[in-house]
């Protein structure tokens, strides 16, 4: 007991854990839930349960995305996977056969082989990962860099916090806002200054998709259309 606590203390006081303790705790919880659900998903005998476990896995990975600072991917994950794909699965299951209770015939007899392949795969991947990426830290930069172009603005149009922070109370007419003025502001206020533009995760993704990756984007939309038509053709009754 004491040994276990000592070990736990030792593990928890290592620098890579204490640096971002809340995130690491969150990660541990999420990862635990995720792996448990994933494992249950591939072993449960009930198809609907499997779909629900899959939902938990997907929700957990959405949480991982948000933990990594990719809000937009997280929200997309929830919207597409949980809102559409899981619902589609449940629909599919319920339209074919929605048995209550366990059905032992959903798994084959070759579980040993599958487990062997899975473990072997994990050993190889895990070895490669540990070998290559050991002790590499994920560092988070400012998630919302704010760009600024010096401008002039009418004091009446400025938001109150900006006026207060720049000491412009009582002034009227045009004032010039310089880079130095801008740098002296808190980030919360900076984003309200005219001429400031916030480059959050969303904006960066949008810029990337609609400039550098416009062709993959269009290809994806064509693929979706093709899949839509294909699904209708395949599933349609004659």
């Amino acid at each position: 007991m004491i040994a276990a606590l000592t070990l736990a203390q030792e593990v928890l006081t290592r620098s890579e854990f204490t640096d971002a303790l809340p995130q690491n705790i969150a990660f541990a919880i999420i990862a635990g839930v995720m792996l448990f659900s994933a494992f249950k998903m591939v072993t449960t005998g009930n198809v609907v349960h499997a779909a629900l476990y899959l939902m938990i896995v997907l929700a957990a990975s959405a949480a991982i995305f948000i933990l990594l600072g990719s809000d937009f991917v997280g929200a997309t994950q929830i919207l597409v996977y949980i809102g559409a794909i899981i619902v589609l699965f449940l629909f599919g299951i319920m339209l074919t056969k929605a048995q209550l209770g366990d059905d032992d015939s959903v798994s084959s007899e070759r579980r040993g082989m599958g487990a062997l392949v899975g473990v072997l795969l994990f050993v190889v991947i895990g070895f490669a990962l540990v070998d290559t990426y050991e002790n590499i830290e994920v560092e988070f930069s400012d998630p919302e860099p704010i760009a600024f172009t010096p401008t002039t603005a009418d004091v009446d149009d400025l938001p109150t916090p900006v006026i207060e922070a720049l000491g412009l109370e009582g002034r009227t007419g045009e004032v010039e806002i310089t880079q130095a003025d801008f740098d002296s502001l808190e980030p919360e206020v900076q984003r309200r200054v005219p001429g400031a533009e916030v480059f959050g995760n969303n904006k960066q993704i949008a810029d990337a998709i609609f400039s550098d990756y416009i062709v993959p984007f269009e290809a994806t939309s064509v693929l979706l259309l093709a899949a839509l038509i294909g699904a209708v053709v395949v599933a349609r009754k004659e």
Binding site: V48, V87, F91, P159
Partner: protein, 339 residues
């Protein structure tokens, strides 16, 4: 603002979230479901419990809590038990991104409204779970109908919001409210720009889709009492039924908040500086008033129109609302570029 420790702030915000989900549900049920419906149908409504029947709600809740929590024999117990919580969880996730004042928010997510629309679809899963786990044909049909309906109306809902997002240039709900406070309508900035004025089509589509998302009549096919005996809720009783009930009206309230934040200026009212600290105090009250306004519309429709047929319901979504909202997006985009 007073600087608080991170965890104190977190606790406050969590309590606020709980309050924001649960508090509006009571007045909505009492004012609209009990009193307004009775008035419209020339009845009196509850009068006995408390002054003008105000305590009727408490009595109802007490009644549901003390009733037996029945599980059908063939039900899948785990899924059956979890379903109401999944539906309720969706409401709690929804309220996270709603701002109540310049600093009165729960989470100031940059993805704001997108996140809200994403998590609103989680409730579909809960409904499907309930429908399947009840081991009853009525429940199953109700669950499938509900899922079909929610998916169909999710699309116009999202697309109607797109117009607002284009106009505000952000997904962040707080920034959307600020964009309305600081906006101008074709150069006239006297009353800001509550997006209901420039996005009226979007507002109408949003309201109709919201009505359907809440499965309120005339879009109540999934719970149609006369055909399906309240659909996926048929087998539920006691506290779990209450949870569904709370979930339904809490979600109604939160959708009202989102609608008022997107189209009615949220916590802000024209004529006041949106940066004044006053709004941190007044904001929730202003929001509540706007929510009640939106709810009045929702319930007015609920009591006025008869139920749609299933095919009419799907046709309205796919053939009318979605094309209209696409047109709305195109027009908004063009105007945004032009001005």
């Amino acid at each position: 603002m007073i600087a608080l420790a991170y965890w104190v702030e977190t606790i406050f915000r969590s309590l606020g979230g709980l309050a924001a989900v649960l508090l509006p549900a009571g007045p909505i049920v009492y004012i609209f479901l009990f009193k307004m419906m009775s008035f419209m149908q020339s009845r009196l409504g509850p009068t006995e419990a408390g002054p003008a029947g105000t305590l009727q709600l408490i009595a109802e809740v007490g009644k549901w809590i003390q009733k037996e929590d029945i599980f059908p024999r063939k039900a899948d117990r785990l899924v059956f038990a979890a379903a109401p919580f999944v539906v309720l969880a969706s409401s709690f996730l929804l309220v996270l991104v709603v701002p109540f004042g310049p600093d009165a928010w729960f989470v100031n997510l940059d993805t704001g409204i997108y996140f809200a629309l994403a998590v609103s679809s989680v409730s579909v899963i809960g409904i499907l779970m309930a429908g399947w786990a009840s081991a009853s044909k009525y429940s199953m049909l109700g669950g499938l109908r509900a899922a079909g309906q929610l998916i169909a109306y999710e699309l116009p809902l999202v697309l109607a919001v797109m117009g607002v997002v284009i106009q505000a240039g952000t997904l962040n709900m707080q920034d959307i409210v600020l964009a309305q406070a600081e906006g101008e309508i074709f150069g006239f900035g006297g009353i800001g720009n509550p997006f209901i004025l420039t996005q009226f089509l979007g507002f109408v589509i949003f309201m109709i889709a919201m009505q359907a998302e809440l499965t309120q009549p005339p879009f109540d096919m999934p719970v149609a009492e006369s055909e399906l005996v309240t659909g996926y809720m048929t087998e539920y009783s006691g506290i779990r039924f209450l949870l569904f009930f709370i979930g339904e009206f809490a979600t109604a309230g939160i959708f009202g908040m989102i609608a008022s934040a997107l189209f009615l200026g949220g916590w802000w009212v024209p004529g006041l500086d949106p940066d004044s600290n006053l709004f941190n105090i007044l904001g929730p009250g202003i929001m509540m008033a706007k929510v009640m306004g939106v709810m009045f519309l929702v319930f007015w429709f609920r009591f006025t129109y008869p139920r749609f047929r299933e095919d009419q319901l799907q046709q309205l979504a796919w053939k009318v609302l979605i094309p209209l909202s696409l047109v709305n997006i195109v027009i908004t985009g063009i105007l945004k570029v032009a001005f």
